[in-house]
Structures are given as C-alpha cells and as structure tokens.
C-alpha cells in the first residue's frame, strides 16, 4: 500500500464524489457524512504517510506511470506522465489541505441549498487542490490547477452572497488569465526540454524535475539557457519567467493583481472563503517555488529584487487597505494579501531562512486565515451583516467569541507563541541576510517590510476596539437577540485551529525539520545554478 498511498490520499475525495452522484438529492445527511468520511480517510492516509516520511530523503512516495505518449513524427515524441511525489515543499501544504478540508466540511453543515451539488463540488475541489500540490509533471499539475477553477467558480456563483455573479466571474477571469500565461510557458518548456532517461530518441517531457535541470534543455530551442533568444528587453527565458511569475502572482495574489480576492471573499460562503484563503492562495506560492524559480534560476536572480519589492508593496498596500476596510471580511481578505506578501519576500531572499519562513508562512497563514474567516462567518450567520461600524462592545454579549477573535487577531499579527511569528521572523532574517550572501535583496527591503507589522497591529486592534470593546451597542436592523455566543459545532472548528496555531508557534521543530532540507537545497540550487547560468551562458 505504501506505493500508492499518495494516490489514495489524492483520489479518495474523487471516489466519494462519484459515489455521491448516485445518492438521491434529498439525502442531505448522507452527502455531509460521505464527505466527512472521505476527509477522515484522507487524514488517516496522511498519518500513514507522515509515519514513514523521511525528512532528509527529498522526494518520496513517488509514483511514476505513463499517461500520454504521442508520436510527433520528425518533432520527436511528446510524453506526459502520471508523476506524483511529496517533499519538504509539498508536505506542509498537503498536511494543511487535509486539515482545512476537514474543517471546511464541518463548516459546510450550514449550507442548506442544493446540498448534493455543493458537496460533490467540494470533493472535486479537494482532489484538485491536493493534486496540484503533489503533481510533478507539468501537464498533470496544469490539469489539477485548472480543475480547481471550475468547482470554485460554481461554489461562489451558486452559493454566494448578493453580488455573487460579479465576484465569481471576476475570480474566474482573473485566474483564467493567470492560467493562460502559465499555459504558454508550459508549451514552450515542453518544446525545449527532453527526457534524458531515454537515449537515442527525442522525447519532449513535461517532467518538472527534468525541467529544473539546465542540462536537459535542447540546444537552440527557444528556452535553451545557453543560447537565449532575445525578444525585446529580455531574453526568452526571462519572458517565460515573467509569464510564470505573473501567472502565479495572480493566484497568490500580489498587488496589483489582487482585486479579485476581496470580492470573492466577501461573496463566498464561509467554508469556501476558508478554502480560498487557506489553500487556493498557497497554490500561487507553491507554483513559484516548485516551477518558476527552479526552472528559471537565472531569471529568478535577475528579477529577485523586483519580486522582493513587489512583496513589500503587497505587505504595505494590503495593510493600508485593511485599515480602511469597513467590512470585517474584507479587512481579513486584505490582511491575507498583506501576509502573502511575506511569502514573496521570503522566496525572493533565496536564503534558507527566508525560504523556510515563506513555506512556514504559507502553512501558518492557512491555519490562521481559516480561523479568521470562520469567525467572520460566525457573525454573518447570526446577523447577515458584517459592517464593523454596526457593532460595538460585543465582548460583554459574546465573551467566547471575543476571546477567539482576540486569539486569531493576535496570531495573525505575528505575536510570539503563534505560528505566524516563527514564519515572519524567519522571512525577516532571511530577507535582511540576503544581500550579504549574494542574494538579490537589499537590506532596506526587509526594513521597509517591518512597517507591515505596525500596520497589522493598527488595523486589528482598531477593529477590536470598535467592535468588541466599549459599551454594547448595535446599529442597523440587528437585534440583540440575534447575538448569541459560539455553539458547539463552532467550537469544534475553532479550537483545533487555535491549538494548531499555538502548537506550531511554540514547537516549530517538527514542521521545520520537514521544510528545512528542501529550503536549504532550494536556496543553494537557485543561487548556484542562477549565478553559473548568468556568468557563463
């Protein structure tokens, strides 16, 4: 079973979705529990996986099967494979996905409209997300990547809030644009890379691992690092990198390609917001670290400073926007943008500390943002109103809710003891150190980024002050009998998230031990390969 453990983890939800198709639409409980069972089975497979995972062994649980082989005559052969595996980059994200999907399923108990369609889409989404984290064949990755879009689109468009059509189409078009950019590069890469394991024959491969090694590029192909084609300002490899970068940056999202996120969040139902913030955004960061940076290390170094600056702009711009948000969920959405800026900054530093920080930040933000969006959902469930100005003094009416909000806000601010602190401090140390170890970032970039910490304190504490402290008061058409404290199901979702944020803040070693070998190798490889390609093209 070891050999197919990862596939089991990956396809269990899809299987559950298939089974669910045959249930009658009125069997609401059945859909809920089928999904829950699928999630628990995934968690079980994940525990088995973790049990035999070796931190320093690189890629593991690799499954390699032929998938598409097409003879192109004089062009050679096109080959795509079913190629999946897991390493220090994908492991934290897979752990996160399984955990968050479980929480999202519990949170989906409140969905009462068209339950069958909802849970089937949720299950498909589950497979697509985990698939994009474990796929090592570019075509396979792209398939999963695209497959996330559709369920997400319908989940927002059919179960969303008042402006759901606008939000869902905006989300769809934005991310589709990103996908097209990635598609272009994927085709270019396929044309330029051959499979070195098959000799005597030209086999065009989609294998990401092969693509990450400069020697596998076909001489005089368009993306050949040694004979770069010059197109306008940059060479073809730099253009390809930029396309990939912007493709993934839309997903991350990076300012100025972020405006789909607040709208999508505000309109999406709570569980979908949770998945969107906790998992979908991470695919952007993951794509950068898995595909864009290792395949184009030379361009990464060339644009490293630019990426770092974009990270800092996201951090500060997102923070400022959060400060001016009047809707609680919008505020949290902008804080997500701000926090994902740290991911860019850490990767761009090309230091082990920075990369560990970035991956840790993706993991930690997944936990904390899930908690934040669940908490925003708690309020919305009760009153259908999320405007900050309509509430004050909630502490006296809903003390447990306020306690959870305080925990989540301070965790998100990066208070020590919560996972966000470890992530942010590592990103800062790495970003500042970058210059002294030949990385691309100047010290001033890290220093400017610290402004984000003050902004985070400002917008969260100001929100606390306005909504939770002071005398109890409600405005608008909200009545005080709508306001009741957390119920048992809400506790079941929030407590594990809070506990996880605390655990990974106080005792980060288990997770860092998984990430560290990857981060170290990644930083060394990108700097080493990038420098050597830049110096002797």
């Amino acid at each position: 079973m070891q050999e197919i453990l990862l596939s089991l983890l990956l396809f269990t939800p899809l299987l559950a979705a298939l089974v669910s198709l045959f249930f009658p639409a009125t069997a609401i409980q059945l859909f809920r529990y089928t999904t829950l069972v699928a999630n628990i089975a995934q968690a079980f497979f994940l525990i088995l996986l973790l049990g035999s995972y070796q931190n320093s062994a690189g890629l593991q649980f690799v499954e390699h099967q032929p998938w598409i082989t097409m003879d192109l005559g004089s062009w050679g052969t096109l080959k795509a494979e079913y190629f999946i595996g897991i390493d220090g980059l994908s492991m934290p994200l897979v752990v996160l996905s399984v955990f968050i999907m479980l929480i999202a399923t519990i949170s989906s108990w409140t969905i009462l409209k068209n339950v069958k369609g909802y849970f089937i889409l949720l299950l498909i989404l589950n497979t697509a997300i985990i698939g994009s984290f474990v796929a090592l064949d570019f075509l396979l990755f792209y398939l999963f990547f695209e497959f996330m879009l559709l369920p997400m689109f319908f989940l927002i468009a059919l179960w969303g809030g008042p402006r759901k059509e606008y939000a869902s189409i905006k989300f769809f078009l934005y991310t589709l644009l990103g996908s097209i950019l990635i598609l272009i590069v994927m085709i270019g890469l396929n044309l330029s890379v051959h499979d070195p394991s098959i000799s005597g024959q030209l086999v065009h491969s989609f294998n990401i691992i092969h693509m990450s090694s400069p020697i596998n590029f076909i001489s005089f192909s368009i993306l050949d690092p040694h004979n770069a084609w010059q197109i306008g300002l940059y060479n073809a490899r730099q253009w390809a990198f930029l396309l990939l970068f912007f493709g993934f940056a839309i997903k991350l999202p990076m300012v100025p390609f972020h405006t789909w996120l607040p709208d999508a969040h505000v309109e999406a139902p709570t569980p979908i917001s949770v998945i969107l913030a906790a998992l979908l955004l991470k695919v952007g960061g993951y794509g950068l670290a898995r595909i864009a940076f290792p395949i184009f290390p030379d361009a990464t170094i060339y644009f490293g400073g630019f990426i770092g600056v974009m990270g800092v702009i996201s951090i500060i711009y997102g923070g400022l926007n959060a400060l001016s948000s009047k809707d609680l969920k919008r505020l949290i959405a902008y804080s997500s943008i701000s926090h994902m800026g740290f991911v860019l900054l850490g990767f761009a530093s090309l230091t082990a500390e920075g990369v560990v920080g970035s991956i840790y930040q993706m993991f930690s933000h997944g936990i904390i943002s899930a908690m934040l969006f669940l908490l925003a959902g708690v309020l919305y469930d009760r009153t259908n109103n999320r405007m900050i100005a309509n509430y004050s003094g909630l502490y006296s009416k809903m003390p447990w809710y306020a306690v959870m909000i305080i925990v989540a806000f301070f965790a998100s601010m990066g208070l020590p003891g919560f996972s966000g602190f470890i992530a942010e401090i590592m990103v800062f140390l790495g970003a500042f150190k970058s210059n002294s170890v030949q990385g691309p970032l100047h010290e001033s970039i890290a220093i400017t980024a610290t402004l984000g910490l003050v902004l985070a304190a400002a917008y969260y504490l100001w929100t606390l002050q306005r909504m939770f402290f002071g005398p109890f008061n409600l405005k608008g058409d909200i009545t005080s009998d709508q306001m009741f404290d957390l119920n048992k199901r809400e506790f079941i979702m929030l407590i594990p998230l809070a506990a996880a944020a605390l655990f990974f803040g106080i005792y980060p070693q288990p997770m860092i031990a998984i990430i560290d070998p990857f981060a170290k190798h990644f930083a060394e490889f990108v700097i080493g390969a990038g420098k050597s390609l830049t110096l002797n093209p």
Binding site: E353, G417, I425, F428, A446, V454, A458, Q509, A519, A523
Partner: protein
C-alpha cells in the same frame, strides 16, 4: 558550566523553573477554574506567586556572586543554524527575578482586595500571571530572540490588562495605543535582531559578549535594539502611551511601572550593554536626559493622582537610561530596583486612596472624580496609614536621605560626575539637567502628597472613608519598608552596599562623598522650596498635555496614515478595478461589434442563401399538392421526359 557550583544544581534548576513557570501555572489555573468558583483565584494566584517568589529567593541566594548559570536547548534548526531557548542567570537577572516575582506577589495580594467584586476576576488574575511570566522570560532568557519573544508577550499582556475594563471606551483606546507604541519600538528591536543575524549569526548573549570586535554594525544594531527600549521603557519620543495607560486598574499600573513592563527596557539595556558603541551610548544618554526632563516637568502640571505618578515614572526611567548611556548600567539597575519598590508602593497607596473614595462614593452616591487632586485634601485624618505609606515612598522617590532612592540616585549622579569629564562639554549640560530633574522630582512629589493629605477636606468632607482591607495594607507595608535605605546598603550615605557591588561588571568603585553631600542638601533645598510654594498649581496647558506629543502624533502620523489608507482603498476601487472594468467593457463593445457584423454581414449572406433555398423549396413543394391525380400527372410527365431523353 565550567566550575563546579557551590549549590545543588538540581535544586537550583527546580527553583529557577518554578519561579518562571508558577506564574504561567497561575494563568492556566485562573482560566480553567469554573466560573462558579471564580473567587478562588484571589487565593490561588497570590499563593502561586508567593511560591514563585520563594523560589526566586533561592535562585538569587545561590547565584549571587557565583559563576553564572547557563542552560540551552535546541528550539529549531534552519540550515544548520540553531535557534535556541535557554536560561542565563547572572547577578543582574537573578536580582531582577526576585524583584519581579516579589512585586508581582504583592500586587496579586493587593488585587485580591482591590478588585473584589469585579465580574471578570478570572481574566484579571490570569493575565497578571501571564504578565509576570512574560517579564520573567525576558529576565532569564539567554538569547535575544527569546528576549524578543517575551518582549512582545509583555506588550500583549499589558494590552489585556490596561484594557481590563472592556466596557470603558477610554481603557480600550489606551490599551490599543500602548500596544501600537510598543510595536513601533519592537520593530526597531526586530531590525536590530536582523542586523545581528546577518553579521554575527548568533543571538546568544554570552557568544555576543565575548566577540570583542568593535565593528560598525554594532552601532546600528545597538541603536535599533535601543528603539525597543524606547518603546517599552516609555522614552522620548514614544512615552505618551504610559500616562494613557492609567486607564487600567491601579494595581496593574503598579505592576507596569515597577516590575513587569517599563523595567524591561532598562534591564535589557544593562543586559546587552556590551553591544553599545561609544556613539550609541551618547545617543542613549541624550535620549534619557530629554525624557527625564520632559517627564519631570509634565508631572508638575498634572492634576490626576495617577498621571503625576506616571510622568514621574517616565522621568525616573529617563534617569536610568541616562545612567546606562553614561556608562553606568549598574547604577541604572540599582535605581531600577529601588524605584521598583517605591513606585509600586506609591501606586498601591494611590490605589488605596482611590479605592477608599470609590467605596465611600458608592455608599453616598456623591459623584466626583476621585483621582483629581483638586477635589482632594486633608485625607491624613481619615486615611492615616495610607498617608504614612505615601510619605515614606514619596520620600524615596524624592531621594531624601535615609531612603533607598537617595542612594540609587547618588550612584547615578556619581557616575555622571565621572562621565562628564573635566573639560567643559555638552556632558556638563546633562549633568546639570540631572540636578534639575532631581529638584523637580521633589516639587511634584510633595505637591501631590500635600494636596491629597494636608489642608482642608474638599469634596470628601461628608464621606465616611475607611482604610483599605488588610490584604491591601500588608503589601503596602512591605513595600514601604523596602523603600528604606537598608535594602541598598547598611550605610545610608554609601550606595556601595549589598547590591551595587554585585551588579558592577567592569567599572571601578565610584562613591564620591561630595556628590552625596551635594545631593542631600540639594534635595532638602528643594523640599523647602516645595513647602514655600505649597498649594500653588502650574497652569500650563503645554505641560498638562506633555508638550502636545499626542496631538503631534495625531497630525503627523495618524491622520496621514488614514488618508493614505483611504487613497489605497480608492486606488483599488477606482484605478485597478477601473482598468479592469474598462477592459471588460472594451471587450463587450468589441463583442457587440462582432455580433453586429455576424448578423448584418455574415448572417446576411447566409440569410440570402436561406431565402433562395426557401424559394426553391416552395417551388418544388407546389409539386406535392396531395392529390393523387397530380402525382399521376407528374409521373406520366416524368416518364415522357425520360423517354424523350433516352430517345434523343
């Protein structure tokens, strides 16, 4: 550890960890106890803190003037570099351990009386425990990253405690301000950590102190860490959160001002003193001096009993920072310790006055601001015990001979005397300022004491006021005793007694008799002057508002920040989404044009073809009328045509 210690290591470690973790345990107990028995926390918390204090006492007794104790564990490892957690106990930290636990214990016991009847006792005592734990973490941590961790936790606990009365809007505002001001300082600290990591690859205090290279980055690193000190120890220009923080419960103020928060900055300064380069030290001294002057003058004009004390703390902290900047961290630490006791004592005494007045007010429903000294007077008759405690701790604050404050201030003045050198320089100005501060301190302290306790009763005349309960009086007594000279040295005119020698690391013995005499006579002169101007108030709006620092922040920082936030929001809505919508509309227009082209041109051609086909269709359809005769006719017609065709 190299040398064998003269104490049992296992017992020692057990004590050190009990001292550290018992307050955290108190936090846990307070949270977990059932709401029904919430009154229990008023017993469990002081008791746990008492145990913690005793353990700290053992630690101090064992390590004082012994080999420092260190112990390190691996926290996490990144790319071969270890981030550690560890304990480093030397004289300074062991002393601080005892001071913090002792004052926290006393404040806990005092709170049992002061906060009786509060609906949220669990959270209050829980956070007191957590506050103490965070501070102890700073005290015993062996590396700067760990210090930073606890440093931020102190900020968090102060946020929770200053804002304890959640329904009070002003308290929530003050808590927020305190945290944000601290965050600003913390960001400086963080940048300092980044510099250290990039250049020294270590946060360990011992490792850092043994690398003796005088490098340029050390100036930057030390000044950045000093930013953290500015935030936490309320130095200029980040001091205005401290007076605002008076919105919290008074015992919390005592804790913040004496042991668990503002003290952290000065302690850190002494702890990482080795990092500071001469240039950085001059900067530190200057900041301290400005703060000391600002605080002292602002205290003169305040009318709120707690605000006077708050500004006094700012001034005294400035004094300590000045001493550290002048190369005498041991004098700063000595003053920190004495100040901790007498300032805690002053706050508890002020709390006793407020508590007594509030209780009396509740019985008589006679509303007035019990903290405004303009409403108070003549309370010595109704509150003789509190009056006595106030006199003792106030004298210590003023630095009158035979009190602890006199000796520690003496240590600072003596070191300043040496520091300023013989030739005239800007340092003389600072030395002079120290005397000005000392003079002003006496003025505001005795103005406070006399307007509250002497003269005729004003608003309180008709109230029946009683002394606070025993649980509050005992801590006050202990702290009053600790305000006497005897805790520093057996000789009331020589500060180099029990403590000072142990704090001294490398500077020489500094006692200067001339300074003691000058200081003593100067303070007595100030006392006489204070008596002369008794009953007068300085009506200066500038001093009352502490040089308008808060208003300046509002105009220079807060307003532009919100405007900027507004601009970014508009950029998102108008610019980015605007471009997006324009692009979408452009596409829509193109689609419409294409649609028209489709309909008019392409479909036109297709339609014509269709019309043609239709015409042909209707023509041939006319052949099929449904009448059998017609079919026969066509059949015969066709056969004839066929025959003609074949024949031709």
């Amino acid at each position: 550890m190299a040398a064998t210690p003269s104490y049992d290591t296992a017992v020692f470690m057990a004590c050190a960890f009990s001292a550290l973790f018992l307050p955290l345990f108190s936090f846990a107990v307070s949270l977990l106890i059932s709401e029904k028995y919430s009154w229990l926390v008023t017993f469990t918390s002081p008791f746990l803190l008492l145990l913690s204090t005793l353990a700290a006492g053992v630690v101090l007794y064992s390590t004082w003037n012994q080999q420092p104790f260190t112990m390190t564990w691996n926290w996490f490892t990144v790319a071969g570099s270890t981030f550690a957690v560890g304990v480093f106990l030397n004289n300074i930290s062991a002393l601080m351990l005892l001071v913090v636990t002792l004052i926290s214990f006393l404040v806990n016991s005092y709170s049992a009386g002061y906060m009786a009847g509060d609906p949220d006792l669990k959270r209050y005592f829980g956070m007191l425990g957590f506050f103490t734990f965070s501070m102890l973490g700073i005290v015993i941590a062996d590396n700067l990253l760990l210090v930073f961790v606890f440093w931020e936790l102190v900020g968090f606990s102060s946020f929770m405690l200053i804002g304890h009365w959640k329904e009070k809007s002003k308290a929530a505002d003050a808590a927020k301000r305190a945290f944000i001001f601290n965050r600003v300082g913390d960001v400086g600290f963080l940048i300092g950590l980044m510099i250290l990591w990039a250049h020294a690859e270590s946060f360990n205090l011992i490792t850092l102190s043994t690398s003796s290279e005088a490098l340029s980055w050390k100036t930057a690193a030390s000044l950045c860490i000093f930013c953290g000190v500015i935030g936490k120890s309320a130095q200029f220009p980040l001091f205005s959160w401290l007076p605002d923080a008076m919105e919290g419960p008074t015992p919390v103020s005592a804790l913040i001002h004496a042991a668990t928060m503002v003290a952290a900055g000065v302690f850190l300064l002494a702890r990482v003193y080795f990092l500071f380069t001469p240039f950085a030290l001059d900067f530190v001294a200057l900041t301290g001096c400005i703060t000391a002057l600002l605080g002292a003058f602002a205290a003169l004009a305040q009318n709120d009993i707690k605000k006077i004390l708050a500004y006094s703390t700012i001034s005294q902290l400035g004094f300590m920072v000045l001493a550290a900047g002048a190369g005498a961290p041991e004098a700063a630490m000595l003053h920190l310790v004495t100040h901790a006791f007498f300032k805690a004592c002053l706050f508890l005494a002020a709390g006793a006055v407020i508590h007594a007045l509030h209780q009396a007010q509740n019985q008589s429903h006679f509303p007035f601001d019990a903290q405004d000294i303009r409403h108070l007077g003549g309370l010595r008759k109704k509150l003789p015990f509190t009056f006595f405690v106030f006199i003792v701790s106030g004298s210590a604050l003023s630095g009158l001979p035979f009190f602890s404050g006199f000796l520690s201030k003496d240590a600072i003045l003596a070191s300043l005397m040496v520091w300023k050198g013989t030739g005239f320089s800007w340092r003389w100005l600072i030395f002079g300022s120290a005397f000005v501060v000392s003079f002003t301190t006496v003025l505001y302290t005795f103005r406070l004491i006399w307007s509250v306790f002497q003269g005729e009763e004003k608003s309180t005349a008709h109230l029946s006021i009683t002394e606070p309960p025993l649980s509050m009086r005992v801590p006050m007594t202990v702290l009053a005793i600790a305000s006497l000279w005897i805790i520093v040295s057996p000789n009331p005119f020589d500060f180099s007694g029990w403590i000072y020698g142990g704090l001294r690391s490398n500077s020489e013995y500094l006692h200067i008799s001339a300074i003691s005499i000058a200081s003593a006579s100067w303070v007595l002169l100030a006392l006489a002057f204070a008596y002369l101007i008794k009953g007068r108030t300085i009506r200066s709006s500038m001093l009352l508002n502490a040089f308008y620092v808060n208003s300046i922040y509002k105009i220079v920082v807060e307003r532009p920040l919100f405007q900027l936030a507004e601009i970014t929001a508009r950029t998102d809505k108008k610019l980015i989404d605007g471009i997006l919508h324009t692009a979408a509309y452009a596409q829509l227009i193109i689609a419409n044009v294409a649609g028209w082209f489709d309909r008019a041109m392409i479909d036109g051609v297709v339609d014509d073809a269709a019309i043609l086909a239709k015409g042909v269709g209707s023509f041939t359809r006319s052949f099929q009328g449904g009448k059998i005769q017609l079919y026969i006719f066509w059949a015969i017609f066709a056969v004839i045509i066929f025959i003609i065709w074949t024949l031709l």
